[in-house]
Amino acid sequence: MKVALFIPCYVDQFYPDVGMATVQVLESCGVQVDFPQQQTCCGQPMANSGCMPEARPLAEKFIDTFTGYDYIVSPSGSCVSMVRNHYDHLVSASDTQAVAVRRQTLELGEFLVQVLGVRSPAGVFPHKVGLHQSCHGLRELRLGPCSESMTPRDSLLQQLLSGFAGISFSQLQRKDECCGFGGTFAVGEEAVSAMMGEDRINDHLQAGTEVLTAGDMSCLMHLDGMIRRRKLPIRVLHYAQIMAQAMQQAPTGQDRPAVTR
């Protein structure tokens, strides 16, 4: 199985630890990954701004970079959704290479659960964790149940973390409201974006969240920025970082953490 790692541009530049944690989690599940050096960005900032002519070269570059892999795995639901759901106007539907790359681009959790059959890995993480359900993972990739929809779905993120010894989850008043990041929205509609972030953080504060996590570093970059500005006692980690940390401390004494399949 040939697996490529897609690390979104802002994660590459600002959150290298999230990328390294992703590698670590995949390796501990027995998967060797490639990191094609040519990769940059999926094109989402341009596409979300309506600028398709500017997004197109990035989509083409993405297809070009990742052709030939069985799976392309990324620790970002939003960028994965961009590739899978929003390349329609950017690459041809009759381009079989493009179709294959798009179909095989998976969010980290999707790959772990749906391809590797990982359930709830063993590990230790004695903290109260607040799950932020990033919108694109939730409503475009359907990685969990959303409160608007009456279709029952399992929460992939919670499942992946629930096996860790000592972990507990915050009970939020609004379990899947948007954090207000929204790409250029965070700057273009700064006032509303900041208020949305403030409301999310207040919800986590009342719920006693110690560690705030999500499947998208972009949401967390926004929330972390507000948490640091207010000097609040909430630590922010991508869920791959929680998994890497927790699985390293697996209580079994094995050199590779046990994966329950």
Binding site: F14, G19, F35, C51, H136, R174, C178
Partner: protein
Amino acid sequence: MGHPALAADFTADRERARWHDRALWFVREKRDRMATGVPEWEKLRETASAIKRHTQSLMADYLQQFEENATRHGAIVHWAADAAEHNRIVLSILQSHRVQRLVKSKSMLTEECHLNPFLEQHGIHVVDTDLGERIVQLREEPPSHIVLPAIHIKKEEVGECFHEHLGTEKGASDPKYLTEAARGHLRSCFCEADAGLTGVNFAIAETGGIVICTNEGNADLGIGLPKIHIACMGMEKLLPRAADLSVFLRLLARSATGQPITTYSSHFHGPQQGGELHIVIVDNGRSEILQSEFRQSLDCIRCGACMNTCPVYRRSGGHSYEATVPGPIGSILTPLQSPAQSSTLPFACSLCGSCTDVCPVKIPLHHQLFAMRERLDQQQLIGTGKKLQMKALSVVLSNTWLYSLVGNVARAALRVLPKFLIQNPLTPAGQWARQRELPEAPAKSFRQLYAERQQSNDQSSPGSH
């Protein structure tokens, strides 16, 4: 002024913005409880969407069928190509009967056509009889929500307004007292009216009947007392069969206010005895939308659920959209009619997708907002500054070498430059940093760390592969 500035004003009063957010979230949660109680909820949505798709594909045929059947019942059907023609038709009906006083129940279409000011210019006294509509009419402002027109107004402010206009006690804020006062006031308006005007929720091609849904019964009173009934409808209100109605009636009130059904769902087949029923069917750009990739926006049944769920709408208020229909659906419909005046609306959205999942007729709202941004770019309406930024970003990101270089330089700059330089309020970084910290720039990017790791792995296990 644009949405960002108006929204910033609204959020500046945090207490009020929170109150507004909570009021609408309360309605959203009521909707959730109602939807949970219908095991086939998602199937109902699917069915409603399919009925709308079918109807649109045969729109001309069904409109003709509706006209024939409505005429058979004695209704008079009028066709209006645009808002101006609609207003002229309504005026001529009123003038031919020497109508001085008109009572109206809620109709977003007449808001769209700006009928009230037009009629008032021609000397006709118009009273909106929906309680929320009456409040905003007395305050001389537009509705801020399509189902809850006065949701932005606190009960104390309603008290002030009624004290001024209806003579209620000063400082009164008891909802029951104020509602009773409005009730008494509206009763006399109903009795004095010469004609009643309503919107239409559904028009049935098979039967020629129209259906009007209200909670206050004001539509029924408004057309039960006067002999002239004018019903104004956008052509997309059509359903093929009476049997289709059940699907929509079950979805509408649950989605709108979290009620199983509206208090009144009134059916009209022809005029009352000795009276006249005029049905004005309006296009006003709808035919064009029907031909476009935004055709599904015409499926809208005006329940307002997308507004109640929208995290931006709840925190920015309906008036920040400066549109007849605000919120997610309004941010599609308004730029279709006047793109230059409403180019900020499709960007007043974090693309969270909640509206798409809440919509009872499955309009892919956030996908349409995404597509509308592309259309605005094609119309050169996204702003030259933003376009230039995106062009530059695209050039940098398209070249891996340049991307790495710019990334390394930017991170180094963030690490060494003083904050006041980086956070210049005129730059995107400065905008970001108004209420939040910028991310801390690490010394090395992921690709640098990964390359180093590969290198040390290769050295520690020579010839292992």
